[in-house]
C-alpha cells in the first residue's frame, strides 16, 4: 500500500511536468532567452524581480505579435532556472541553457555564481548578463559576460561626488553584510571614497545576513558620527531595518546605497525614517519614465499583482539582447557576431524620456565593451516613492 502511494505521488509529479511543457502553441518561431538566478530562498527577491521583468516583457512582445529580427518574427520564451544562489546549481543551470540551445542568458545574480558559470558559458557560446561586479568577469580574457547594470564602483563615486558638493559630506562610514558580494562592494566603495578625498571613519563593521536587530551592529559606527553612511551591497530585506535602526539611534547624516531598492519595502519597513535615503534605480520615476516604461510597470503589476522597483534596473538586459539581435540577425546563433556588433551597436532607449541610447560601454572599467549602458539614475526616497536626484552616464 505504501509503495502504491509513492507511485501515485510520482505519477502526479510526472503528469504535472508533462502539463507544464505544453506551452502555448504559437505560429511564430520561438526565440528562447534564458535566465539563471536565484528565485527561491533568502535572496529570492533578486532573481524573482529579474525573472518577472523578463516574463512581463516577453508576454508583452508576444501579445503584440512578436519581435521582428531580420526577416523573421519571433515569439519570445523565457527559460528560467533557479540556482538557489548555489554556484554549483548555477553551472547546472547554464548547462541546461546550452542544452536548450540558448545563447543569451540573463543572470546569475551573485559573484560566485557568475564566476562559476564562466567556463560553461564560454565553452558553449553563451553570452550572459550577470548582476555581479567583479571586474575579472568582464576584462579579458573573459569574453562572454556583460554586466547588466551599473557597478557600484561606478555609481559610488558619482553619488559621493554629488553629496560632497551638494550636502558638504566630509566623513563616510561603510557597513556591509559578511558575504562575498557586499564585502567586495564595500572594498571598492572605500577605495573610491578615499580617492575622492573623503575621510573614511569606519569601514570594517559587518553584519550577518540573518541579523534581525541592527542596533548593536550600528552602535559603534554611530559613535563616529559620519556625515554619510553607505550600506554596501545591502539586500532589499535588510535596508529598511538598517535605516530604521540608524535613525532610531539618532543618526542625522545621509544614508545611501549603490544597489536597487523597492519603495514599497522601504515604506513598510522604515516609513518616514527612510526619507532622504539614496539608492540607485532605473528609469521609473515620473521625471524620467517614458510611456513604454509606464506601460511595462502596468503590465508587470497586472501579471504579478505587485510591482517591484528593483525591476527598474532589470528591465534592460532582455531589451539589449533583442535590440542587438535585431541589429545583427546572424547573432541569433553566433555569439561572435554578437560580440562584434556590440562595439558599434546603438539604439534608442525606449524606457526613458529624451534621447538616451542603448549601447555597450565599459571601456574605462574593463578595457572592452562588456557593460550595458543604462542611465545611472540616482534616486532619493521621499514619502513612499522615489524621486530622481540626478542622472549620470557610465562610459
Amino acid at each position: 500500500m505504501q509503495r502504491r502511494a509513492l507511485m501515485k505521488a510520482a505519477m502526479i509529479a510526472m503528469s504535472m511536468t508533462a502539463l507544464q511543457t505544453t506551452t502555448a502553441l504559437a505560429e511564430n518561431p520561438v526565440l528562447k532567452i534564458g535566465f539563471v538566478g536565484v528565485t527561491s530562498g533568502p535572496a529570492a527577491s533578486w532573481g524573482i524581480s529579474n525573472q518577472r521583468s523578463m516574463e512581463t516583457r516577453a508576454a508583452w512582445i508576444n501579445e503584440t505579435g512578436g519581435y521582428k529580427i531580420g526577416d523573421t518574427t519571433y515569439d519570445i520564451e523565457i527559460v528560467s532556472f533557479d540556482d538557489q544562489k548555489d554556484p554549483k546549481r548555477a553551472i547546472a543551470g547554464m548547462e541546461k541553457m546550452a542544452q536548450e540551445g540558448i545563447h543569451y542568458v540573463v543572470g546569475p545574480n551573485v559573484d560566485d555564481g557568475a564566476a562559476a558559470v564562466r567556463p560553461v558559458a564560454e565553452a558553449n557560446g553563451i553570452m550572459y548578463f550577470p548582476y555581479a561586479f567583479p571586474k575579472s568577469l568582464y576584462t579579458k580574457p573573459a569574453s562572454n559576460a556583460i554586466l547588466g547594470m551599473v557597478a557600484n564602483y561606478q555609481s559610488g563615486p558619482a553619488i559621493y561626488k554629488y553629496l560632497m558638493k551638494e550636502k558638504g559630506v566630509k566623513t563616510v562610514a561603510f557597513i556591509a553584510a559578511n558575504e562575498s558580494d557586499p564585502l567586495s562592494q564595500r572594498d571598492s566603495g572605500v577605495a573610491a571614497a578615499k580617492a575622492l578625498g573623503l575621510d573614511v571613519v569606519s569601514d570594517n563593521v559587518t553584519y550577518q545576513v540573518d541579523t534581525t536587530d541592527f542596533t548593536p551592529v550600528l552602535t559603534p559606527i554611530m559613535r563616529e558620527r559620519p556625515d554619510l553612511l553607505v550600506l554596501s551591497g545591502v539586500s532589499p530585506a535588510n535596508a529598511p531595518q538598517l535605516i530604521r535602526s540608524a535613525r532610531e539611534l539618532g543618526f542625522q547624516g545621509v544614508i545611501s546605497t549603490e544597489t536597487a531598492q523597492d519603495a514599497g519595502v522601504l515604506t513598510e519597513g522604515a516609513g518616514d525614517l527612510a526619507n532622504g535615503f539614496i539608492s540607485v534605480g532605473g528609469a521609473s520615476t515620473p521625471e524620467l519614465a517614458s510611456p513604454m516604461m509606464i506601460e511595462f510597470v502596468d503590465r508587470y503589476t497586472k501579471m504579478f499583482g505587485e510591482y517591484n522597483d528593483e525591476s527598474n534596473t532589470k528591465v534592460y538586459a532582455l531589451e539589449y539582447i533583442l535590440e542587438t539581435l535585431k541589429a545583427d540577425p546572424a547573432a541569433i546563433t553566433d555569439v561572435t557576431a554578437f560580440q562584434t556588433t556590440m562595439d558599434r551597436f546603438e539604439a534608442p532607449n525606449p524606457y526613458m524620456k529624451g534621447d538616451a541610447k542603448l549601447r555597450y560601454v565599459g571601456m574605462s572599467s574593463f578595457g572592452q565593451r562588456r557593460q550595458v549602458a543604462v542611465p545611472l539614475v540616482v534616486n532619493v526616497f521621499q514619502d513612499g516613492a522615489f524621486e530622481t536626484l540626478f542622472v549620470a552616464e557610465v562610459d
Binding site: D86, Q99, L183
Partner: protein, 326 residues
C-alpha cells in the same frame, strides 16, 4: 563477508557498465549533454556524502561536511593558482589537508554526541566560511577565480592523464574523472565497512560503553573515521572547484552541509550505497523538476516528504525489505 556472491559481482559489473558506458551512450543518443554536469555533480557530492555516511556509521550526525569540502576546494585552488602545482597532486593534498584539520577539530569535538555534535559541526561550516572570508590567502570575499583546468600528467614521458585545457569536451573528461573517484570512494567505503574497522564502527554506533569495555579505543577510531570522512569531503570539494574554475567562501555553505546529511538519510543509513542513491535522487530530482518553474520547490519538497513518510529508513529499504541486512 569475504565471499562476494555472483549476484553482487553482477550488480557491480552492471553498475560500472551503466556509469561508464551506458550513460555516455544514452547521453549522446538523446543529446542531453547537460546531464553530464549534473551527473558529475552527483558523483562528486556523493563522494562527500559518503564521508558523512561514515560518520553516521559511528553514530555521529555530521552537518559539517561543507566545511571540509570548502577547505578542500581552497587548498586545491591555492596550490594550483598560487603554487603552480599540478591539479592531480593538489587533489590528494586537499583531501589530506582536510583530514588533518579534521583530526585537530575531531580531538576537540568528537566526544560530543547526538544533536550536540550535529550542532557543533553545523557551526563549523559557518566558521570555515567566515575564515575563508577573512583570510588573505583565500583572497577573502573576492574568492579565487580563473583557476586553470587540470593539466596533463606524464610519467617517464608516457602520458597518463590528458591535459584538460586542450580537450574539446571537458564535460566528458570531468564526468569520467568524477565517476572514477566515486567508484574508488565507494569501493573503499565498502571494504572499510566490511573490514574490522567497520565492525568496530558498528559496535561504537550501537554502544560506545560496551565497545570500550571490549578494548576498543573509541576516541582513536572516532578520529580516524572523522579524518577519512573529511578526506572524502576535501576530495569532492577540490574537484568541484576545478570544474567551476573558481572558489568562493559561499561555494560550500550550511545548506550544502545539510544536503550532504540529507543524502545519507534519503538513501538509507543502513546501506553503504545509500548516500550515492540519495545524492542522485536529491540532486538530479531537482534538475528533473526544472520544467515546473515556480512550483519546482513545492513539488520537490512534497516528493521528499512523501518518500520519508513512506520509506522512513531510506530508499534502499525498499529493495531489501524491512529488517533485512545490517
Amino acid at each position: 563477508m569475504e565471499n562476494i556472491t555472483k549476484r553482487q559481482l553482477f550488480n557491480v559489473g552492471l553498475f560500472l557498465f551503466s556509469i561508464f558506458i551506458a550513460v555516455p551512450l544514452i547521453i549522446s543518443a538523446t543529446g542531453r549533454w547537460d546531464f553530464y554536469f549534473t551527473l558529475t555533480s552527483v558523483a562528486l557530492l556523493a563522494i562527500a556524502s559518503a564521508g558523512v555516511w561514515l560518520t553516521f556509521y559511528i553514530g555521529r550526525i555530521n552537518i559539517g561536511q561543507g566545511a571540509f569540502a570548502l577547505i578542500g576546494a581552497y587548498v586545491s585552488a591555492i596550490l594550483v593558482v598560487k603554487g603552480g602545482i599540478s591539479f592531480w597532486i593538489s587533489l590528494p593534498a586537499a583531501g589530506i589537508f582536510a583530514a588533518i584539520v579534521a583530526i585537530f577539530i575531531g580531538m576537540l569535538v568528537l566526544r560530543l554526541r547526538g544533536v550536540y555534535f550535529a550542532m557543533i559541526t553545523l557551526v563549523l561550516t559557518q566558521v570555515v566560511t567566515l575564515t575563508a572570508l577573512a583570510l588573505p590567502i583565500t583572497n577573502g570575499a573576492k574568492g579565487i577565480s580563473s583557476i586553470p583546468l587540470p593539466s596533463g600528467v606524464s610519467l617517464f614521458g608516457i602520458p597518463i592523464l590528458p591535459d584538460f585545457a586542450t580537450m574539446a569536451n571537458t564535460k566528458l573528461a570531468f564526468y569520467y574523472t568524477a565517476c572514477i573517484l566515486m567508484v574508488l570512494t565507494y569501493a573503499a567505503l565498502y571494504r572499510l565497512v566490511n573490514s574490522r574497522l567497520g565492525h568496530l564502527c558498528r559496535s561504537m554506533q550501537q554502544n560506545e560503553e560496551l565497545a570500550s569495555s571490549i578494548g576498543v579505543n573509541i576516541a582513536h577510531i572516532r578520529i580516524v573515521i572523522f579524518a577519512i570522512s573529511s578526506f572524502f569531503g576535501g576530495i569532492g570539494g577540490a574537484m568541484f572547484g576545478s570544474i567551476a574554475q573558481s572558489v568562493y567562501p559561499s561555494s560550500f555553505q550550511v545548506a550544502d552541509s545539510v544536503n550532504f546529511m540529507l543524502n545519507c538519510f534519503l538513501g538509507g543509513l543502513g546501506y553503504v550505497f545509500g548516500p550515492m542513491l540519495g545524492t542522485l535522487v536529491l540532486y538530479f530530482g531537482w534538475d528533473l523538476l526544472f520544467e515546473l518553474g515556480k512550483y519546482q520547490m513545492l513539488v520537490y519538497s512534497i516528493i521528499l516528504i512523501a518518500v520519508i513518510r513512506f520509506l522512513p529508513n531510506g530508499l534502499l529499504s525498499l529493495q531489501f525489505g524491512k529488517g533485512a541486512r545490517k
